[in-house]
């Protein structure tokens, strides 16, 4: 009984050489499978360049948006500053003019100090 089992096992486990061209057929089948799977993918997922390009585009867009935001900020600050200059000079002018008028035409009750 044991002998028969051992004999069957030995026979089953005996190394068998693969048929001629087996390796090539397996590799060809694997390549075909990969190619078929890639053909099923949308075009933008077939290459690694596409996601890299998308990331670059995103970074570029973010950079442009940031630059525009900064420019707008500088523009707003510059315009506010220029208006402040005009306001400050107008106030200074008005006050100097007032002092000048008082000094040159002292009214009753005015004292030069």
């Amino acid at each position: 009984m044991m002998d028969r089992l051992e004999e069957e096992l030995r026979r089953a486990l005996t190394r068998k050489e693969p048929p001629e061209g087996f390796t090539d057929r397996v590799l060809a089948a694997a390549r075909a499978h990969t190619a078929a799977r890639e053909r099923r993918l949308p075009w933008w997922r077939r290459s690694r360049l596409v996601p890299a390009a998308a990331v670059c585009l995103l970074l570029l867009a973010a950079g442009i948006a940031l630059d525009r935001h900064r420019r707008r900020e500088v523009l707003a600050r510059g315009e506010a500053a220029s208006q402040q200059v005009i306001t400050a000079l107008r106030i200074t002018a008005a006050k100097l003019q007032m002092v000048q008028a008082r000094v040159s035409r002292p009214a009753e009750g005015n004292n030069r100090i």
Partner: protein, 175 residues
């Protein structure tokens, strides 16, 4: 060495504003019905000058006037009733304007109308390097501090800002 450089920069920064508006002056904004607060250091003045047009006369003049300045600081308050500020508030400004650096070139006090107007100039050699104007009325208080070299002619040209030129100044009325 680095510490000295840092301290020098700090000192320069502190000197940029000739006088400091005391806290009691800054607090007046809470009581005022209208406040003008202009704080322009040299960086902001440079930025402003890029936005002042050469084609508009007033802006071109302003651009020329501020070209050498290191700062413009204005606090102007309008109150809805008299007595919102005290003479002590003004005194805290005056104490900073002492000789020999500063000299008062004009001072008017109207007891009838309760007005005070004073003009102080800072002189270095024969150059005017600072101007402070204090104008106090019962319901209005204005303090102007201009830091940097001011051409005396510019004081006259200031008259182009919506009011006639100063008498006796270039472009102004002759006596």
């Amino acid at each position: 060495m680095k510490t000295i450089a840092m301290l020098s920069l700090l000192a320069l920064g502190l000197c940029a504003q000739d006088i400091k508006f005391p806290v009691n002056i800054e607090k007046l904004a809470a009581k005022a019905v209208e406040t003008v607060d202009v704080t322009l250091d040299s960086t902001m003045l440079q930025l402003a000058s890029r936005f002042l047009s050469d084609k508009k006369q007033e802006e071109a003049e302003a651009r020329r006037i501020i070209s050498g300045l290191q700062g413009i600081y204005v606090r102007s308050f309008e109150f809805n009733k008299p007595g919102e500020y005290s003479p002590a508030d003004l005194e805290s400004i005056r104490t900073q304007l002492k000789a020999p650096l500063w000299s008062r070139v004009a001072g008017v006090r109207s007891t009838q109308e309760g007005e005070i107007a004073e003009v102080y100039m800072k002189k270095e050699g024969d150059r005017i390097t600072g101007l402070v104007v204090i104008a106090a009325e019962p319901q209005e208080l204005t303090i102007v501090n201009i830091v940097g070299p001011i051409n005396p002619e510019d004081l006259g040209r200031l008259g182009q800002f919506g009011i006639p030129p100063l008498a006796g100044q270039p472009g102004g009325e002759k006596k």
